[in-house]
């Protein structure tokens, strides 16, 4: 009965949204803000990847909020799961193949992660994507050798300092120019690795913070006790 009502409701919702949204002119957006940003961003921010220019420049404050959300989620997960027990039941270590694979994969993923972070203002990619890859590297190591003691303290320091670095760069701009997170150091030569002012620095801070955050969450979940019999 309840299911039937839900089905009817969902059907109604779908119909309503479809009839309303099909009136919208998808494919030809008005682009009031978009086209203006496309016009001025290359000169103002100096990043070839305009998505990164907006992510760290025009809407950098959103990005800070997003880092805070990820941090809040990791912290809340920590609150919920508590500190993990050192003698908690763990998965058995992965087999020889997995361990060897992990030993090969780990440095590769780390390098790729940092490459993606460092080139975020030039090509697709950037802090978040690189951070996720770093977290994946960490996770591969965890998977291969669950018993390896993960330094939770180190993760805390990385996530704390990386987040602080983002904000301090912003406050530096506030002191230097009167605007929080204003672009500093000049746009530089478009297309070079060291260009786009403070953007690569922000990208690095994001990458490290996201990586540490996600790694922390995964470690928490992975180290939660396995269900006992």
């Amino acid at each position: 009965m309840r299911n039937l009502a839900s089905l009817l409701f969902a059907g109604g919702l779908a119909f309503l949204l479809l009839t309303l949204l099909s009136q919208l002119a998808f494919g030809t957006p008005p682009m009031r803000v978009g086209s203006e940003i496309l016009a001025v961003a290359p000169g103002e921010v100096g990043a070839a990847n305009l998505v990164t220019a907006i992510l760290l420049g025009y809407r950098g404050f959103d990005t800070l909020g997003e880092l805070a959300i990820l941090f809040a989620a990791a912290t809340a997960a920590g609150v919920v799961l508590g500190r993990r027990r050192d003698d908690a039941r763990r998965d058995p270590p992965g087999g020889e193949v997995l361990r060897t694979g992990a030993d090969l994969l780990f440095p590769l993923l780390v390098v790729v992660g940092f490459y993606v972070i460092a080139h975020g203002h030039l090509t697709p990619g950037g802090g978040f994507q690189g951070g996720v890859i770093l977290a994946a590297a960490f996770f591969v190591a965890l998977l291969a050798q669950p018993a390896r003691h993960l330094s939770h303290g180190l993760i805390l320091w990385i996530e704390g300092l990386a987040g602080a670095a983002f904000i301090l760069i912003g406050i530096w701009a506030l002191v230097a120019s009167g605007d929080f997170l204003a672009p500093l150091l000049g746009p530089g030569r478009m297309g070079e690795l060291l260009s786009a002012g403070t953007l690569p620095l922000l990208s690095l801070a994001i990458g490290l913070k996201v990586g540490a955050e996600l790694a922390g969450i995964m470690a928490h979940i992975a180290d939660a006790e396995a269900p006992d019999t």
Binding site: L20, V33, G57, D62, L64, T75, R83, W157, G170, L174
Partner: protein, 516 residues
Amino acid sequence: MISDLAVPNLFVAQAGQLVLPVVLPLLAAFLMQPLARVSTALARGLGPLVLILCAWITAQLWIQLGDAPFTLAIGGFAPPLGILFYADGIALLFALAVPVFALLFWPGSESGGGAGADSRPGSDQADRDQAARRDALVLLLVAATTGLALSGDLFNLYVFYELAAVASFGLVALSGTGRAQVATFRYLMISAFGSVLALAGIAILYMQTGTLNLGQLAQLAPETLNNPIGSAAFALMLIGFGVKAELFPVNTWVPEVYAGAPARVSALLAGLVSKLAVLVIVRLLVLIFPQPEAAQMLLVLGVLGVLTGEFAAWRAKDFPRMLAFSSIGQLGIVFVAFSIGGEIGLLAGLAVALHHLIVKSALFGLAVRWNGSLEALAGAARTSPLGAALFVLFALSLVGVPPLPGFWAKLTVIVGLAERGTPLDITALMSILLVTAVEASYLFRVAIRLYQDNPDPVARHARRDLGVSALLGAVLVAATLGLRPVADVLGAGAAQLGDRAGYIETVFPSHVAGKD
């Protein structure tokens, strides 16, 4: 691009510093856990210190920059491109209230509680970690709610709303009982579903207008959003942002969460966070959706909230749940008030909202110790006479007994409804009068029970919680005595809040009308 190179000084009040009350708590929250590993005392003091600093900065800016609304472009990018903070009287008032209330209900110090952290066996390190996480989450909540008060960008509002949501999930789960975790999960699901709808609403708005800046949206709204599509977008965003504002269909999480969470967290959520969500909805209503359909939607949902909330409160068996349901009802009145529109509606809405902020926070402060069933409260007046007296004061104001501010707030709502006088308004008016009787019935039932004879009453209040409630009670009495100036200030705030043209003018001073 960079506006002012001449005054690179943090110690001179400039609009740019208005980001600090948002950013400093974030910075402190990020550093809280590592710091706690180094020095517990330092970590414990950091939170209150930062909150005091934030309140000081906001007050300083308010005094020096005056009453006229001002904006602040983050990153120095010209208005529609970057993210904008918009500070009018109401925004600054809330930005000031956030750190103050967070300080009043700061969960950290359990000095008066008798049994501190030492009452439980468990490793010190784990306790310290947990305390640092809790402090970090409160700071994140402060940053998020301050941002909600100030931000003038639709998506930025969404980001801060999500931050407030995620931080409050963590705080609600703090009490660690199984029930609280289940309640938190349900809360998370409802909240996340609301976010999906809000995102869909934002997508529709962006599709229609191509901007996210509230000022520019207000400019474009009459021609692009005064149609069914605009109303649908408003409905989606109303449901989305309504989750935290305890709006009718999406408030099913409220009783379980407030009953399961630590009482001080409930005080913050019911008092402060819900008001900021309301402020967001009001801004959207005033600036972007002035069409009558939007107000009607709000009115209907508000009336439903009033009725369901108050009747459920009447049936509630324990103190926190009663407060939670009553909170749903009161916020329903807030929505009804704001739906009236015009200066009187905004004034009424602000009055009810601020009144509820003070009263409900204080009552949840009392619930720190009175967290059991209503029956267990019998005779509590003997052990805690001041607590019982305060409860009676707040109950009287909540019901709306004449000299107290609650009466004037309710009266303004009723006058506003009667003035407009459509059948829907009269229905709303009738239901408000009806629930006033219901409110009186259940609140006085509790009051009578407090003064019953009972040889074995519940424990007395900790000095700190009682002090906070007494302080808020004093504020209430002061507002009663100085009703005229308070009403004048609120009236000015309401006028600014409702000033659509003023908002646009402040955001785009020289009529940089964009592309049209």
